[in-house]
């Protein structure tokens, strides 16, 4: 590690309370930190319509073209939010500004901008709350920490609410349990009422409501991509493998983030899924189908507003009902699991399909195959409401010795594991991925204790921040994670960081290049795919010569 990244200066500022209440001005909005505002084709399309979405707005121009009565609309939305959401109302009132959250935010650590402290981020909204909804704020104004709305306040909201990845590391350390991500989330929804939508997530939301996935990929492209994966697997394993797409009557619907069949290094994870499903079918007769309608697990609506989340979230249950599956396996996706764990049962109706309902009530794999009796998916955090995370399924299969594993096939990798915030903190899947990795490989090391499991650092690009124009913010936000990674690289010689999240897999390759850390990025299912012995196809542990990346195992050429 002789190479060092270019110097990145963190300018710390310590304003007094009289200064911070002043909103930012247009000239404070800097490229690299400000998200573009959505274009009419994204938020005024027939698939995704937002109020006042028909105007083209430029975040770097003085005039943001807000609708005439924007104050009224915003305050109405504010009032509605306060009335409907007790949590939001409580979070407005109870913060004592102790500052426990301040240095827990990776964006504050990376930028030094005081308004990037979680407490200050929420305070940009609380100040407005005090002015319009509390007596003290109304009477004493600034002296009670209250300020009236004006255009600069709105600009400040937009600028700072979209510098948050909603990872909720701050709420973990808050003595009151204030969830700043939720405050930011409702703030974003209020902004969307007056026509301010962030572009990156709106492109994805629009594409997803139009085609079923965030990329905007049509059915043929998805099928072709999976087919290419199968042909690559033939070169690697020597077996004719197959899979199903849109197969009615299949046992399981598989939902993955669309990046898995499109981008690298996500691609190797998809090869891992395909190997696992083929083995399951051959050995236990469980058929797994993909869907071109529910071709995306992730849900960028979750970062935008409740309504957008609901719009995208409903398609998975609709498709499960249509195909008549018994349960759903979810792939390596981050926000899909937060979405599923926290919203899916309140945003959708209960299933009508009796087979599915039966499995929903008693998620025992014995219902599918006698040989799998005793594996109850209800034991797992993701195993409710008819779902299971693919890694928890693998953990169960390994624990009950239902698949054959040869960990020595991964001996050329020394791995560490990054907990995605939505999976670890959002859902609570902490041990299973580690259990799987310890079983499928011999060299696995965790990063330091304070930055893994529920205390994990964000990758710096979640929550809709994965946009190209936010590159500087992203590279600053990922800094704490990169420092932890550098530690294990130096100490244990780690050469791959595994993470079950598509956003992470897109962000980290850029980040490790910027921070000059010589590691590869991948997903745990890639390692499972490497180690999985296709016994039912007659494969022997020593048969596999190449791993899923095409590099020789055991150094053979």
């Amino acid at each position: 590690m002789s190479e060092v990244p270019e110097e990145l200066k963190i300018k710390q500022k310590f304003p007094n309370w009289y200064d911070w209440i002043e909103p930012i001005k247009q000239e404070d909005i800097k490229p690299g930190f400000a998200s573009y505002i959505a274009l009419p084709k994204q938020v005024n399309s027939e698939f995704f319509k937002m109020p006042f979405g028909d105007v083209e707005r430029d975040v770097f121009s003085e005039d943001w073209k807000l609708p005439e009565n924007w104050k009224e609309i915003l305050l109405d939305a504010f009032k509605e939010t306060l009335e409907k959401n007790r949590a939001f109302k409580v979070f407005m009132d109870i913060c004592v500004r102790c500052g426990a959250c301040a240095d827990k935010c990776h964006y504050y650590i990376g930028t030094g901008d005081p308004k990037n402290m979680p407490v200050m981020r929420a305070e940009t909204i609380r100040t407005v709350y005090r002015y319009y909804f509390t007596k003290a704020g109304r009477i004493f104004g600034k002296w009670a920490g209250a300020r009236p709305l004006d255009e600069n306040v709105i600009k400040e909201w937009y600028y700072y609410l979209f510098q948050c990845s909603l990872c909720r590391r701050c709420s973990l350390f808050c003595p009151y349990g204030i969830d700043t991500a939720e405050v930011a989330w409702w703030g974003r929804r209020m902004l969307s009422r007056i026509g301010l939508n962030q572009r990156f997530m709106c492109i994805s939301i629009e594409a997803s409501s139009r085609t079923g996935n965030h990329l905007g990929l049509y059915a043929g492209g998805m099928a072709g991509s999976i087919e290419q994966g199968l042909s690559e697997l033939k070169d690697i394993t020597g077996f004719e493998l197959h899979t199903y797409i849109n197969k009615p009557g299949a046992d399981v619907l598989f939902v993955a983030p669309s990046a898995d069949y499109f981008a690298t290094p996500h691609w190797y994870v998809m090869l891992g899924y395909l190997l696992l499903f083929n083995e399951l079918e051959e050995r236990y007769g469980i058929t797994v189908t993909w869907s071109t309608y529910a071709s995306e697990g992730g849900n960028f609506g979750t970062f935008h507003s409740y309504e957008a989340a609901q719009l995208l979230n409903s398609k998975i249950y609709k498709e499960a009902e249509r195909l008549g599956v018994k349960f759903i396996i979810g792939g390596e996706c981050g926000h899909m699991w937060r979405d599923k764990h926290q919203f899916i049962n309140t945003m959708n109706n209960l299933p009508k399909n009796p087979e599915w309902k039966k499995f929903w009530d008693d998620p025992d794999l014995g219902q599918l195959s006698d040989k799998l009796k005793g594996i109850n998916l209800g034991e797992f955090i993701s195993g409710e409401h008819g779902w299971i995370h693919v890694l928890e399924l693998v953990a169960a299969l390994i624990r009950h010795k239902k698949i054959d594993i040869d960990p020595s096939r991964n001996d050329h990798w020394v791995a560490t594991y990054h907990d995605p915030c939505n999976v670890a903190r959002g859902m609570g899947m902490l041990e299973e991925p580690r259990y799987v990795l310890r079983n499928v490989m011999n060299k696995f090391y965790d990063m330091p204790e304070h930055c893994i499991r529920e205390k994990t650092y964000c990758c710096g690009a979640g929550g809709g921040i994965l946009a190209e124009e936010l590159m500087e913010l992203r590279m600053r936000g990922v800094m704490p994670r990169m420092m932890a990674l550098r530690y294990v690289v130096k100490k244990f010689g780690v050469n791959i960081m595994l993470t079950p999240c598509a956003i992470d897999k897109a962000q980290f390759p850029v980040a490790v290049e910027y921070w000059k850390i010589p590691v590869e990025i991948g997903g745990p299912m890639e390692m499972v795919g490497n180690a999985l012995v296709l016994t039912s196809f007659g494969e022997k542990p020593e048969d596999r010569k190449y791993d899923l990346r095409g590099t020789p195992i055991r150094g053979e050429e």
């Binding site: 573009y36 274009l39 084709k41 083209e56 430029d58 770097f60 990156f200 492109i203 994805s204 594409a207 085609t211 996935n213 965030h214 990329l215 905007g216 990929l217 049509y218 043929g220 492209g221 072709g224 991509s225 290419q228 983030p257 669309s258 990046a259 499109f262 981008a263 690298t264 996500h266 691609w267 992730g298 994965l466 190209e468 124009e469 598509a502 956003i503 897999k505 897109a506």
Partner: protein
Amino acid sequence: MPEIEVKGKKLRLDEDGFLQDWEEWDEEVAEALAKDTRFGQPIELTEEHWKIIKFLREYFIKYGVAPPIRMLVKWCKQNVRPDCDLKYIYKLFPQGPAKDACRIAGLPKPTGCV
């Protein structure tokens, strides 16, 4: 937002120089986009560039999105030159296939978790 003038017609771009409406694209627009200096180095379009641009567009019209990079590299190996790799594509399009090639081909920037 920036604009570009081709044949007396003003076309709308976004902040990074991508055409707002991909249907407005034709070969002259591609030439103009390649010569534009506001969004990176100007590129002299050769036959190899054109082959890639046309492939990108065909794929986009068929499947709704620019092809994955690994597929592009594979295709280039078969159709542009046998020793073509990602490095060579970067030589043709200095800011990379996602930025330069898609921009000149008039496609929207690829998004989602990629």
